[in-house]
């Protein structure tokens, strides 16, 4: 019997006996709807909630606590250092490895402006550091993906023509001056260590590989490796040994060579080239004037500035943060006593970072003082922060919510190193306030704080907790090449003396719970479908009894046993398909209703998704395959019985 003819006969049979058909379909429909509904719910929770809180393709590992490492014998020891990173990078399925360094000292944030109001809000600061090069690559990639247009296209779309500029001041806010043209700030590219000025009083305050030279921590070079781009390895000028950290001052030069940014590479914003000749030390900024020549001539140095405004004024007028450059008019001419002129200020993208306060005891009210022009420390936020912000803002501050993460880009705040609401462990260190600017977001960033360039955190840790504070990474994030590598990578990690971070361990636990949930729904649905199958068997046996004679007639006019079998199996497939479709339809309807009720009656909470349900094509297909399988199963026995019926006998029976 040909398929076309077969299906024609099957449809005739279904049409003839709609009641039986619907009755048989009900059970399948219920089973499939239960299965599809709950699988969509679990998948939805996993994708919409869990994966946003705990991204699937990220694993964070920490050094194992002693007990764990001691309990197992065949562990491979790896250090939380570059060598260990290399080992982890070698695991198959690990696309990239991001070592993390936490802040080891106390600090507080102070946030104001558009988000927290003119009064500002202060809270304990947590932050960590990620390699800026690695993260910048990710940030730039995500920025490019977002717009999909080239920079030129975007510029054109925005202005129609391009705007010439000299520096950021010539451009509108949110733009920077790049090669004489204003362009929207590429925030992602700002995630780099700007070499913020961190003064030191001794070697102990500088990180490994740094020396306290000319009153600040500078990267040592030569034996300690090469310098970064735009830097050169040179011997700083000095007068006494103390200026050279652990090195000696020999013949006006420090014996230890350090990396210094050189003017020939172009000085970064907030810095200026130290001139060759001088009359007094003041002419040379950093480093002394020795025999009419500046010791650090030809290198870039942070411009000295002074902040004369109190906190309240700064909150009200953020532009005042740029401070004033003492003795200099805005047009670059020296101030002359008596003739008033608008003072010069720190460059547009920088602020006056106060290093020593006039009245140290009144930090939050009065932070007038002398400092250096610096770029704000770029920070990256975890999307979770936005969620939490939204919740807090909406409920407690009654502010409007932030739409997307992008609205936070360029947002600034302050962090005060060495100040805490808790017991102050940072002794003998003057608190220092730095500005922060949000330049991007990444799910690798700290969830309850901000993430800064790692080299900066390293230096800050040393500055406040001493050299030893930064010997090793605190944790390592593994970015997987894909979620499918997760099980393999996890089992591979068991061989090392490391453990999952609390978060990653939690994520694993949740994933297991969801997997178990799916398994339970699978079993539940199987039971319902099995009952439906038994119901189909029942109905079919009844139908076959009713159609006994008809089966005999079909056989008499040439139907084979297989034809008879296929007629019933085909009908059961239709039942399965109809039940599968109806079940998924009902599950979909229920999911919409559930979402509606959830939106209406459950209060808002972080990571609240638009929908709790994800109907994945593969699961929908699986549910229909289930329905077909159980319908076939139910019809199998009756169909065989029908095929085996003796046609002569069924025809002679009255």
């Amino acid at each position: 019997m040909k398929l076309g003819k077969l299906s024609a006969v099957i449809f005739q049979n279904v049409r003839r006996n709609r009641k039986n058909f619907i009755f048989s379909t009900v059970g399948i429909t219920i089973g499939v709807s239960v299965f599809s509904f709950f699988v969509a719910l679990t998948v939805g929770i996993r994708e919409e909630v869990l994966n946003r809180i705990y991204p699937v393709d990220l694993i964070e590992v920490e050094p194992a606590s002693v007990s764990i490492a001691g309990a197992r014998s065949n562990v491979e020891r790896i250090g939380f250092n570059p060598e260990g990173v290399a080992v982890l990078q070698g695991i198959e399925g690990v696309a990239r490895v991001y070592p993390k360094l936490r802040s080891h000292f106390q600090a507080t944030y102070r946030m104001g402006g558009q988000l927290f109001g003119s009064q500002g809000v202060t809270f304990e600061a947590y932050f960590d550091g990620l390699d800026d090069g690695l993260l910048r690559a990710e940030l730039e990639k995500s920025a490019g993906r977002k717009s999909g247009k080239s920079m030129k296209d975007r510029l054109k779309a925005r202005y129609g023509r391009q705007h010439r500029c000299y520096d950021a001041e010539d451009c509108t806010p949110g733009e920077e001056c790049f090669e004489g043209l204003c362009r929207p700030i590429e925030y992602g590219s700002l995630f780099r260590d700007h070499g913020e000025f961190i003064p030191c009083k001794g070697e102990e305050m500088c990180a490994d590989g740094y020396g306290c030279v000319t009153g600040r921590c500078l990267k040592t070079c030569g034996t300690d490796g090469p310098c970064g781009p735009g830097e050169e390895c040179m011997a700083a000028g000095c007068r006494v040994d103390g200026e050279c950290g652990s090195g000696k001052c020999e013949g006006g030069r420090c014996s230890r060579t350090v990396c210094l940014p050189v003017c020939s590479a172009g000085c970064p914003p907030g810095t200026e080239c130290i001139p060759e000749t001088c009359k007094a030390d003041e002419d040379c900024r950093d480093g002394a004037c020795l025999d009419g020549r500046c010791a650090l001539a030809g290198t870039c140095s942070h411009v000295t500035c002074v902040q004369n405004h109190e906190e309240a004024e700064l909150m009200a007028n953020p532009d005042l943060r740029r401070g004033e450059l003492p003795g200099l008019c805005e047009d670059g001419t020296p101030m002359t006593p008596g003739a008033a002129c608008p003072p010069a200020r720190c460059p547009a993208s920088t602020y006056c970072s106060v290093q020593s306060y006039f009245r140290p005891g009144y930090l939050w009210k009065d932070r007038r003082g002398e400092g250096r022009c610096e770029e704000p420390i770029p920070v990256v936020l975890n999307p979770i922060v936005l969620e939490l912000f939204n919740m807090v803002l909406k409920s407690t501050l009654e502010k409007t919510q932030l739409g997307t993460m992008d609205t936070l880009l360029g947002y600034g705040g302050s962090v005060t190193f060495g100040h805490s609401f808790y017991k102050d462990t940072v002794k003998d260190r003057t608190p220092v306030e730095k500005r922060l600017v949000v330049v991007g977001y990444s799910n690798k960033a700290l969830e309850a704080g901000v993430t800064m360039p790692m080299s900066f955190v390293e230096r800050a840790n040393a500055r406040y907790k001493g050299k030893g504070a930064t010997r090793q990474f605190d944790s390592i994030i593994l970015q997987l090449a894909g979620a499918e590598y997760l099980p393999d990578v996890l089992s591979r990690l068991e061989q090392f003396n490391i453990q999952l971070s609390r978060r990653s361990a939690e994520a694993e636990k949740f994933r297991t719970v969801l997997l178990v949930a799916i398994a339970i729904f699978f079993i539940m649905a199987s039971i319902i479908l099995a009952i439906a199958a038994i119901n189909i068997t029942h109905t079919f046996l009844m139908v076959i009894y009713e159609r006994k004679r008809e089966i005999g007639i079909l056989r008499a006019i040439g139907a084979t046993k297989m034809d008879i079998r296929l007629l019933f199996l085909g009908e059961s497939l239709l039942i399965g398909a109809a039940g599968g479709a109806a079940g998924n339809g009902i599950a979909f309807g229920l999911s919409k209703a559930a979402d509606f009720l959830a939106n209406r009656y459950i209060g808002e909470f972080p990571f609240q998704p638009d929908t709790f349900f994800h109907f994945r094509p593969e699961w929908v297909a699986a549910s229909i395959a289930f329905a077909l399988f159980f319908s076939l199963l139910g019809a199998f026995f009756p169909a065989n019985r029908a095929a085996a019926m003796d046609p002569a006998r069924t025809l002679t029976l009255a």
């Binding site: 004679r549 006019i557 040439g558 139907a559």
Partner: protein
């Protein structure tokens, strides 16, 4: 065309005796044979064996050169589909199908008639038996005679070589019975279809070429009619 040799058949050997005993019968192509016998004598059983519906017997039945017992279900079904056709006393039409659909139904279980020709062939068969005007009607709206004509149309739809008619007039009044009988005679004469007709009616049997009498499972006599 049909050759039965030493057919033995017992439905339930323990309970009752054999239904057919040592039945031997040969029917030539184009013959019209009437099977005459009392109720329960084994006539239907004989037809079922010849028609390949019953394979549980001793002896050999060769129809159209095929040894039925040795055939696979698939081939036997094909044989029923294209070589032979049944006409039953109780018509055995499918109530959920229209007359035209009933007539064309065998086409669904074989490949003799291509799908595109099914309609035309069904109409032709129904015109042949004079029931074309009822093609859209359903069987339960027809009289017995009309139903049997639809059943005959179905039987000739595939243009079989052999017609096996089991008391086709048993449920009909004599006029309708005569009409149906005439159809069989015409099919036999014009189309050369071999007909085996079971009846208790001596008058109808007399119209056949040959009468085979069966009693208590035995073929008790054969006679040529004039």
């Amino acid at each position: 065309m049909i050759r039965l040799t030493a057919i033995h058949k017992a439905y339930d050997p323990q309970a009752s005796g054999p239904v057919l005993r040592d039945a031997n019968l040969a029917i030539a192509s184009g013959e019209f044979v009437a099977i005459l016998g009392k109720s329960g004598s084994g006539k239907t059983t004989l037809l079922n064996i010849i028609g390949g519906l019953d394979r549980d017997y001793a002896g050999t039945a060769v129809v159209d050169g095929l040894e039925l017992k040795r055939m696979k279900d698939r081939d036997l079904s094909r044989f029923r589909n294209r070589t032979i056709s049944f006409v039953f006393q109780t018509f055995n039409l499918l109530p959920h199908l229209s007359c035209a659909e009933n007539v064309a139904y065998p086409a669904y279980f074989g490949d003799v008639v291509p799908r595109s020709e099914i309609g035309a062939r069904a109409r032709e068969a129904m015109e042949r038996v004079g029931i074309a005007h009822k093609s859209q009607a359903y069987p339960n709206t027809l009289s017995g005679g009309e139903r049997q004509r639809v059943a005959i149309a179905r039987a000739i739809f595939q243009r079989p070589k052999i017609l096996l008619a089991d008391e086709p007039t048993g449920n009909l009044d004599s006029a309708s019975g005569q009409h149906v009988m005439n159809l069989f005679l015409e099919l036999n004469r014009k189309d050369g279809v071999t007909v085996m007709l079971v009846t208790h009616d001596e008058h109808l049997a007399a119209l056949a070429h040959r009468i085979v009498r069966i009693a208590d499972g035995r073929i008790v006599g054969e006679e040529k009619t004039a």
